[in-house]
């Protein structure tokens, strides 16, 4: 087991490396180098361009050096907590990330849990009661959930909130807590506000997981070991829960791994629409204004989050499936 976890963790190292290369390539792709855009922006803002500072910056990021050296400077800076500078905000990137990253992690994890909690029972129900009214209803809802872009659901909810209820569904905190320090009250407030974005981000993932769980379980329901369980005299409910559902969970857990990046991806757009105080609106902003160090840092962090999420899912899978554990 330990060997398995170690192997899984080791395997992720090249993945993380590749993710960082990709993020850095995105930083590098736009024409002109970083300091040039920085100087141009300062000038546009009517500020004095300090030649000494420009030279210092060029040196710091090694902009005259080859790609690989620049990459090295960037990545080794990150290991020391230095993500570069945001020229739009005139601040180190690491200062801008802080709380927002924390909220992003909370949002993604709660969405994952929500997805599990909803998809699992419904998937089981739909498979066991295949072709029943309930199965059809869930299938139709699921299909619509898959077909609707997340942001459209967010927009419609916003519209309904404003027009019908006269409330604002955006943000993650009530105004009185927005700038307050962490307290029990703030936490409860956060939970209340989380429900809507979690439900929106989770729709398409939940819809696809229901279908996967349903299909997995339908594959298992007619296996001989279910007949064995019935032949022992187990009740129908117990026979199904203890055996096929338990076994259908395995492929289900492995799909969770692929769902996590999907959730992070979906949360980006929903967070922008609902102006959540996560990293995503800031990232979009940075991308639109070509504030590349900031954007690159976010892309890197979100990718790392996805990869870590995958490793965790894989380890969970190994925990529940002895066939993997013993390999």
């Amino acid at each position: 087991m330990f060997v398995y976890i170690m192997r899984r963790v080791l395997w992720s190292v090249p993945f993380l490396f590749a993710a960082s290369l990709l993020a850095f390539a995105i930083i590098q792709l736009p024409p002109g180098d970083y300091v040039e855009s920085y100087a141009a922006r300062l000038e546009a803002d009517g500020q004095q361009v300090d030649e000494v500072r420009i030279i210092a910056l060029r040196d710091r990021f090694g902009l005259d050096r080859p790609f690989i050296v620049q990459y090295w400077k960037w990545i080794s800076g990150i290991f020391q907590g230095d993500f570069g500078l945001s020229f739009q905000w005139q601040q180190p990137v690491s200062e801008l990330i802080g709380d927002r990253m924390f909220l992003s992690v909370i949002l993604a994890t709660s969405t994952l849990l929500f997805t599990w909690a909803i998809a699992l029972p419904i998937g089981v129900y739909s498979a066991v009661k295949q072709y029943s009214v309930g199965d059809y209803v869930f299938s139709i809802i699921g299909f619509i959930g898959l077909a609707t872009p997340n942001f459209l659901v967010a927009l419609i909810l916003m519209y309904v909130g404003v027009v019908v209820f006269g409330t604002n569904v955006t943000g993650l905190f009530s105004p009185e807590y927005a700038n307050a320090s962490w307290s029990w009250g703030k936490f409860i407030d956060l939970l209340k506000h989380l429900i809507i974005p979690v439900a929106i981000i989770g729709t398409s993932a939940t819809a696809s997981l229901i279908r996967i769980m349903r299909a997995n379980l339908l594959d298992e329901l007619f296996k001989p070991y279910v007949t064995t369980a019935r032949a022992k005299g187990l009740s129908e409910f117990k026979a199904i829960i203890k055996y096929p559902v338990r076994i259908a969970l395995n492929p289900f857990a492995s799909t969770i791994a692929w769902v996590f990046p999907q959730i992070i991806s979906g949360s980006t757009i929903v967070a922008v629409v609902l102006s959540l105080p996560t990293v995503d609106p800031l990232m979009l902003d940075a991308l639109l204004s070509q504030d590349m160090y900031l954007a690159g840092a976010f892309i890197l962090l979100l990718s790392v989050m996805s990869i870590v999420g995958m490793i965790v899912s894989d380890i969970v899978l190994a925990l529940i499936d002895p066939r993997i554990r013993y390999r």
Binding site: P31, F143, L146, A147, W258, S265, I269, A295, I299, M305
Partner: protein, 377 residues
Amino acid sequence: MSNSLDQSSPMEFAEATQWQLMWRRFKKHKVALLSLYIVLLFYVVAAFSEFFQTYDPEETSRRDVFHPPQMIRLFEVNDAGNRQFRPHVLGMNLERDPITLASNYAVDPEERIYVTLFGRSDPYLLLGFIPMERRLIAAVDSDEKFFLFGADRLGRDMWSRTIAGTRVSMSIGLVGVALSLFLGTLIGGMAGYLGGWVDAVSTRAIELILSMPTIPIWLGLSATIPPNIDPLLRYFAITIILSLIGWTELARVVRGRFLALRTEDFVTAARLDGASPKRVIFRHMMPSLVSHIIASVSLAIPAMILAETSLSFLGLGLQQPTISWGVLLQESQNIRSIAQAPWLFVPGAFVMLVVLALNFLGDGLRDAADPYSQHSI
């Protein structure tokens, strides 16, 4: 074996090709069949979108800002008191509330704008080069305007804009999938056929891309497109970016089928019959792959459409003056506009309908893709 396959005569069944068997199986899937017709309809509309528009989608009108939608009424009661077939919409007048000064549209039941099929309109170029003067629906009096889906903040007709968006949104799905298909079959096929380190490397690459959050990376890549680039170039740049990530799913399908097929006895038999590797692949393996690829493609198109819509909605995909559903939905980002003009959501309904239909179609195709499997639908 034959239980689910057929009720037709044994002779016909015995000599049925895979496509005939697939079609028979597909036809049983009523929802998929309906979806096929819907998708075909959408592509027809996309191809001849100018004809289906009622006006030039770029035509602004200050008088008609946020004009609400008007419904076509098919019958009217004439002066003699008889119902007669005369399609029309009711006119609307802009009124200003004397106290709040807010503007409001009120229906004027007396004013009728008669519409007709294939009516005369302003001249336009179908497909960009065929001069035409008739549209599917037009006002009998071509000076009058009507708005089936309302108008946007510049008084542009949403029906015409949504129909115009059909072309871009539907085609970006096709072009993007074509590119993904090329990458996917090439990489997946090589991985599956060559095996060994090629397989190991490409499998890892696929896993890597699948473990990345797609939207942030798409956004990052499209942010690197220079802002003032030609709209057509931007269109291709976006499709390339979408397919750079979209090929993985297809590659996985191709590789998986390839690996499964490679060890099939009938493929070994073909090798022993003296078939060259090329012949083994194209004569013996391809026919089994094609149906699965078609099914995967029809499932990949809606994903592309959704991706384009999302990117454009965020302002990093296609941009004005290109009209796509995502670009149109960008208008609805502002909560105040949608509170005033909820019909700005209409392109979203189109996205849902098309994606839904493509998903059902793909599901039906996937179930029919292997007509030799034992299970029945």
